[in-house]
């Protein structure tokens, strides 16, 4: 309905204040106008774009909703009267506004769920207004069973269970479940009604004034519909502020600039509450909130929240234990053998597969066959299992004698007691220490050369784990998981090398790794170094990377339908991002125009892709941008159609806007300056145009170019063919050895063939650039002169160390050697 360009522009361009004022006025009940105007005056510092489009600010893709929203301005006036009348007795709002404006203010906040007291007051006054006795509150039917608050409107499900409309909406819009709160029966539609007894089946289609197909709600009358919509807007959480913003970015900006407060990004991303129920923090409060929660024992508004847990490896906080758990599950590794032994309790995490492989080598029986190493997780609990595996999978590696030998099981090593369920930790430890030491498999002797103690690997593993757990400073919060200590991660190379010498001769470093290059991820320059701490087992480092590369490439190819043009464009984009010529949000933007895939699929790809970046900032930027996108576009779908101003050079405008908003709030939040990096100078300047550092201005241009599909100087066809033809010829060499310093102009015009309107319009609201203030600037800082130098510096360091690390072990390079070593190993067994 609106062009994407308009949509984007909507949130970017400062509107004439007049526009914003008119809009706001039309939204407010007429009797409160005096006050509303005052509010407008108060908010005049707020960029106008924030309010102008608020009517269309949410519910992307809900055609129906959107339509009715547009009609709403007209109806508003009539309704205002009622609201005002009802709430004239509402408890006076905490501070500020003059009694004159009471009606309008109360009218706004009381119709939201707000605090319970407000709702209650609403109800009470409603009772009075209708001439009912005050006691109506006490009647059971008037209290929602679920939230124990007074029912404002009823929600009736097909099972004829009732809740208040707020609970029903909470379930449907926030928890995204269409089941009944009482009986979990799925309901495609519920009815929001003021009738307290009418049964679901007695309603006919003609009873409904409105219907929302997306949420599955039929509204008996328009008032209920509007009350519902009110809840879904991006309302400012400040109790005295009646601003509804365009989207999360806008709201964050509003809160920051107007109230000098911040909102917790994790909470806004994950917490399932209505927008106005979120909390505002000062920066220090936010820090406390993240670390310890804002549990305030004894206070009326205590939340019971204990802080956002942090991943000890990544130093990144997550919304809750579940999110941290899934992060650790996805990003870090667990030893399935140890897990089995511990019955899944106290999971121990390893920072990545390399670290885990080191653990395998030390504490379990890892098959050292090259293919098996590549396959990963070919590791066994016991010697016997490993032997069986050898016989089954690599029979050719063994001589006849060795094979026969391997078939023999030495019963002396059999420990029946290990079958006994283990339920007492300490008991188990004693038992094992004694029991297993005695009957060791003589054949096993050469295998764990490092263990002077008569302990088996699993025992060692167990003890090591205990030691680690014991020595680990208890993190402020865990979900019962354990992280491997850093020392553990660092030590392995030495040991594994020693061991590799025993069992499997050090494999050759892999020279070219041609497949790695295919994605041309690297701005890796020839000397490949490695950051010491993260370099775990050098053996598998390259391999792991290679597999990830392959996986990403494969996924991308599949998603692109193996279209060579698109694939090469995809590569171009990625290397552009690597070279910091494209910011993460823009990269994601490009992906959307490139891939015709579901967000779930794209999400997988992006996560895998992010893992490939060695630079932390790149990885986290990308993930952050993606999460931002998801948060803004999925959790709170935005209605298209709020855009009304034409778009010219919006990319620049967008940056300017960002700047001006910081400039505004920079007096209050000095700490933010840090994250702005290069931009600090610019943001403090009253005129944001002039001091733009180079990084900004280029990116501004680029953003503009990418977005405005109608820009005359790029035709879709040229933009597709250009990068693709170039990449096909260029990609292989770039990959490892050259720094892909592409002329920015080329990536700058990602093909947006049919302009993919939905995707771009979504980005108008949702791009991470707007979501997090720090985001775009950080990306650009890297793109700026000094930034890029240091970035590539790190990358090359990484590379170099990888190279050197490879000497001790390696993947496919030393095939011959590997084979010989295998033989050695086997002889040892025989």
């Amino acid at each position: 309905m609106f062009s994407s360009a308009e949509n984007i522009n909507m949130s970017d361009t400062p509107n004439p204040p007049v526009n914003g004022r008119r809009e706001r006025g039309s939204n407010a009940p007429p009797s409160g106008r005096g006050h509303t105007n005052q509010a407008v005056a108060n908010h005049s510092g707020e960029p106008g774009g924030g309010q102008a489009g608020r009517r269309g600010g949410r519910g992307r893709g809900q055609g129906q909703l959107n339509q009715s929203e547009r009609q709403r301005g007209g109806r508003r006036g009539g309704r205002g009267g009622r609201v005002n009348g009802l709430e004239i007795e509402a408890p006076p709002p905490p501070p500020v506004p003059p009694p004159l404006g009471l009606g309008s203010r109360g009218g706004f906040s009381a119709r939201l769920t707000g605090d319970a007291s407000n709702a209650e007051a609403d109800n009470r006054t409603k009772g009075k207004a209708n001439g009912e006795p005050d006691g109506v509150n006490e009647v059971e039917g008037e209290i929602c069973f679920i939230c124990a608050s007074p029912v404002v409107h009823n929600s009736v499900a097909p099972c004829n269970h009732r809740t208040c409309h707020i609970c029903a909406l909470r379930m449907r819009a926030l928890y995204k479940t269409k089941t009944c709160a009482h009986c979990r029966t799925h309901a495609d539609y519920v009815i929001f009604t003021d009738d307290t007894s009418k049964r679901f089946e007695d309603f006919t289609q003609s009873d409904f004034a409105k219907q929302d197909t997306n949420l599955g709600i039929k509204y008996e009358n328009v008032d209920i519909f509007e009350d519902t919509l009110l809840l879904l807007r991006y309302n400012c959480p400040d109790p005295d502020c009646d601003i509804a913003c365009l989207g999360w970015p806008d709201l964050h900006r509003h809160v920051k600039s107007l109230h000098q407060k911040v909102m917790c990004h994790l909470c806004t991303d994950y917490k399932k509450v209505f927008t106005h129920e979120h909390e505002l923090f000062t920066t220090s409060e936010l820090r406390k909130h993240e670390r310890f929660g804002d549990d305030n024992p004894g206070a009326v508004d205590q939340s019971g929240f204990k802080g956002h847990p942090e991943c000890g490896f990544c130093r990144q906080r997550f919304y809750g234990d579940d999110e941290l758990y899934s992060h650790c599950r996805d990003k870090h590794e667990r030893c399935h053998l140890c897990d089995r032994r511990n019955a899944g309790r106290q999971p121990q995490y390893y920072v990545d597969y390399n670290s885990l492989e080191t653990h395998f080598r030390r504490d379990h029986f890892l098959c050292l066959d090259r293919e098996c190493l590549e396959k990963k997780f070919v590791v066994f609990d016991s010697e016997i299992d490993l032997k069986a595996h050898h016989l089954e999978t690599h029979p050719n590696d063994l001589s006849k004698d060795a094979r026969r030998e391997a078939r023999r099981i030495d019963m002396s090593g059999f420990d029946y007691r290990s079958q006994v369920p283990i339920d007492n930790r300490s008991g188990r430890r004693d038992r094992e220490g004694r029991g297993r030491g005695r009957g060791r498999d003589p054949n096993a002797d050469p295998i764990p050369p490092s263990s002077a103690q008569p302990l088996r690997r699993d025992e060692l593993a167990y003890q090591r784990q205990m030691a680690i757990q014991g020595s680990q400073p208890v993190p402020t919060r865990t979900f019962g998981g354990q992280l491997t200590a850093e020392t553990f991660a660092v030590r392995p190379p030495v040991r594994s090398e020693a061991r590799a010498g025993d069992i499997n001769a050090p494999a050759k470093p892999e020279g070219g790794l041609p497949s790695l290059g295919s994605l041309s991820l690297g701005s890796e320059s020839p000397p490949r170094a490695q950051t010491s701490a993260s370099a775990l087992a050098p053996t598998a480092q390259e391999q792991t990377r290679r597999f990830r590369h392959a996986a990403v490439t494969e996924r991308a190819c599949n998603m692109l339908g193996n279209d060579p043009h698109k694939v090469s464009e995809f590569r171009t984009k990625i290397s552009a991002y690597r070279a910091s010529t494209v910011t993460a949000p823009d990269l994601i933007d490009c992906f959307f125009s490139l891939f015709d895939a579901t967000t779930v699929e794209l999400g997988k790809l992006i996560k895998e892709l992010a893992d490939l970046y060695e630079s932390d900032s790149k990885r986290s930027d990308l993930l952050k941008a993606w999460n931002d996108w998801k948060a803004t576009s999925e959790d709170y779908p935005a209605l298209p159609g709020s855009a009304s101003t034409p778009s010219v050079g919006q990319g620049g405008a967008r940056v300017l806007k960002l700047k001006s908003s910081t400039a505004q709030s920079s007096r209050s939040s000095a700490n933010r300056q840090g994250s702005w990096g290069l931009g600090a100078a610019a943001s403090s300047s009253p005129n944001p145009i002039l001091p733009l550092p180079a990084g900004y201005s280029t990116s501004a241009n680029r953003v503009g170019a990418g977005r405005v599909s109608a820009t005359p100087w790029i035709t879709p066809s040229s933009s597709t063919s250009q990068p693709s033809s170039r990449t096909t010829s260029e990609a292989p060499p770039t990959s490892r050895t050259t720094v892909p310093q592409r002329p920015p102009t080329e990536e700058a015009f990602p093909a947006l063939p049919a302009a993919k309107q939905p995707a771009t319009s979504i980005f108008g609201y949702g791009s991470g650039a707007m979501r997090r203030y720090g985001n775009v600037p950080t990306g650009n800082v890297w793109g700026g002169g000094t930034g890029s130098a240091s970035a590539s510096g790190t990358a090359s360091e990484n590379e170099g160390e990888e190279g050197s690390g490879n000497v001790g072990a390696g993947a496919s390079g030393g095939k011959r050697k590997g084979n010989r070593n295998k033989k050695q190993t086997l002889f040892q067994w025989g």
Binding site: M171, F274, R345
Partner: protein
């Protein structure tokens, strides 16, 4: 905030006023309505008879839309209670996919007590205990009684 507190307050009042049989409820700390201290008397016709078990009921911030969790603070020999320092009780109704916002805490507590009378070995966290419960009930009863004597009679 989200209506949860009101509901919790209401339920707390109800449970305190009219507690389910054999159950006493109090707050761990008066200032915190999200953590409930539960005293559970071992049901007469169970190996847990005579013991008093201390449980912690933790309500999530988005209660009642998300289920509470129930942990035994007193060691108990039971197939559905994890035998570790957490003592998590595995109640079907507390699983997030089975939880109904309309379920009440008193109902949860009643179910928990019933589970002491009648363990559910098919949905066990402690598979060995469940195995034993099914195969040699006598041994199970004996250990459960021993543990009750040892840990639940202070």
């Amino acid at each position: 905030m989200a209506g949860g507190q009101k509901r919790i307050g209401k339920e707390l009042a109800e449970v305190t006023k009219d507690p389910p049989e054999g159950i006493t409820v109090s707050l761990v700390s008066e200032a915190d309505i999200y953590n409930w201290d539960i005293q559970l008397e071992g049901p007469e016709d169970s190996p847990y008879a005579g013991g008093t078990f201390k449980l912690l009921l933790a309500l999530p911030t988005d209660y009642p839309f998300k289920p509470p969790t129930l942990n035994f603070k007193t060691k108990v020999y039971h197939p559905n209670v994890s035998n570790d320092d957490k003592g998590s009780m595995c109640l079907g109704m507390l699983r997030s996919e089975e939880w109904k916002p309309s379920s009440k805490i008193s109902g949860v507590l009643r179910t928990a007590r019933n589970l002491l009378i009648e363990p559910n070995p098919d949905d066990a966290v402690e598979t060995q205990i469940a195995e034993q419960y099914k195969s040699s009930r006598k041994d199970f009863d004996k250990i459960a009684r021993d543990w009750t004597k040892k840990y639940a009679k202070a």
